[in-house]
Amino acid sequence: MNLIKKLTPSQQLVKQSLQGHAWMGLFWAGLLYLICLSGTLVVFFPEMERWEQPLETEYTDMSASSISAALSAFQEKIDEPIESLYYIYPNEDIPRAHVSANEQEWWLDNNGHLVEQVDAPWTSMMTDLHIYLHLPHTIGIIIVGMLGAMMCGLVISGVLSHPNLFKDAFKMRWGGNKHLEQTDLHNRLSVWSLPFFLVISLTGAYIGLFGINMTVADYFDDSITSEEVISTVFGDDPQINEAPITVDIQAIEDDLKKREPEVQFLYLVVQKPGTEGQYVEMAATLPNRLIYSEIYRYHSDGRFIDYQHLSDGEAGRQVAYSSYRIHFGHFGGVFTKLMYVVLGFAMTAITVTGVNMWFNKRKIRNRWYYLWNGYVWSVPLAMACAAMSSLVFDLQPVLFFWLSLLLSSAVAFCFQKEHPHQKYLQALRWFTVALTLVTVFFHGIYFPNQAWYWVFSATILLLSMLPILNLRSWVHKWSAI
């Protein structure tokens, strides 16, 4: 075990890393907490969308003629030029198809009729919070990407500031000294989830900072423009010049199934519909592959053009195209999603315990400590409040999210003593459960026979109840077995 001793960083390095780690952690904790918690929940965003807008008929298969009918009906509805016309196939997560173009989306029934406009403002609120922090998209995604990079920094400084990484790998002191408890929780969760933490931060930063990387490199490298970089990484568009005809979806589906019998259709895009440049892109997932999809290109009459080589091209292209599934846990089915939720909650807990450690180590109890704790428990409350405002009262969820978050955090800031503050936190947790319960039942009134709705509702309710359970006693029982 001399190797472990050799790998142990020096005391000076540990001290400096710890300082940098604490600095960065404290500075970004508020935003990191929002990103981690919302990210954990939006792992299930397709299911959330399905839950928010239940439809009577659900199906996993649609005929090519129904798809054609749906695309025609949708094109007629949009009275403006369309650049890309999307048809998204039904799948296990959302067993219903939809069409979209020019920021309009419609759900379809099994016969290809437009049923209802896609309208899931709470899910959009949650995904926008995770991806853009509700800021204008360009700046929002850069800030979130930057937070990903800061997380990478926190991982590096965290490892360097932990000299007993191996020795303490299984140490957990629960109860007793609060500082030790928070420290052990923070360290054990973070050390053992290090690969997850690093992969999620890196892919998040990669997605968020793609644009800014391109811009800077474009400016300093005269040999290539950012457009050329994008086409190098993701592939070029084909150049078509022929009279537009009705898309033969059946021919395209048949041809693709013949070429790749194991693929699952994901979505179909009619590019530049109605123009001489019209062609069709068919995105399909390949079994056991992390790439989001392979894209096969066809002429409108079903003749194959080429495919984008996302699955078998250069390693760089494959890696770039795999980041989405790795980041959101959309691979390997529901088990992977559940694992992402567990590890995501761990990431959230690491953020919270990190700040708690700073306060506890210095034995500080002031308004800032109460504000931090109040903020931590106000975020789930604000999410529940936004859900209720949107699903029950049809109001703006973003507005109610921030209003309730500001208000309940501000109340926490007013506390001066520990005991009433703790009672307030408990009230916040109960209030979150109450709001979730009300939302689930009042929204569900319209869908009493939708079994899936109630199963998912029960899961959401259970999740909201987790914080009011006494976790300490559970660990006590588990360790006593």
């Binding site: 930057m146 920094g153 609060k178 997850f196 760089g316 292209r317 590890l343 360790s479």
Partner: protein, 183 residues
């Protein structure tokens, strides 16, 4: 169906469970030989777990399954061996923390982190990628992956070093060198 799930998930998970358990056992023993033995068991379990996952889910999924599933499995073992004590009476608290560095200093670190460190990380990653990778497409993928890591590392250094000129000088030097190399 049950058999398939068992072989595809439950069995490899059960074997992966041995990874943290063997680590735990390795730590408990004082004798070096036993420690190495348990470490060997841990590596063997990792390999078998990976192999079983790979058989049903392919290599790509299995890499991440092995990396990520070990986390929560180890937490079960940690929870199992946690020392639970009753909560102590609250200690005497203070309302103010130690006086840290000035606001100006902190703000300048923040500004440097958002400008110089970002700028530097992109150019240095591009230069590293250009020097190590030949294919243009792979160069860009490498740049995009290294840049956030490097940015995080630069910012950590900025925030932790008592002499702030050290990271600043290093960043400027590496940025200029990278710029020269790229162009």
């Amino acid at each position: 169906m049950v058999w398939h799930s068992l072989m595809a998930f439950v069995l490899p998970l059960g074997i992966l469970c041995l990874v943290p358990y063997a680590w735990f056992q390795a730590q408990k023993h004082k004798r070096q030989a036993l420690r190495w033995l348990w470490l060997g068991v841990s590596i063997l379990a990792l390999t078998v777990g990976f192999y079983l996952f790979q058989k049903h889910h392919g290599t790509e999924f299995s890499v991440f399954f092995v990396l990520f599933h070990v986390s929560w499995l180890s937490w079960l073992i940690i929870g199992r061996h946690a020392k639970v004590k009753s909560e102590k009476q609250p200690a005497s608290y203070v309302s103010h923390g130690p006086k840290g560095r000035s606001f100006t200093y902190k703000f300048s670190v923040f500004l440097l982190a958002g400008t110089l460190a970002l700028f530097s990380s992109i150019l240095v990653s591009k230069a590293i990628a250009q020097s190590l990778v030949t294919e243009l497409i792979n160069q860009w993928a490498t740049t995009l992956i290294i840049a956030p890591l490097l940015w995080g590392a630069w910012v950590t250094w900025l925030a932790s070093d008592r002499i702030i000129y050290r990271p600043i000088s290093a960043m400027i030097l590496f940025t200029l060198l990278s710029w020269w190399y790229i162009t």
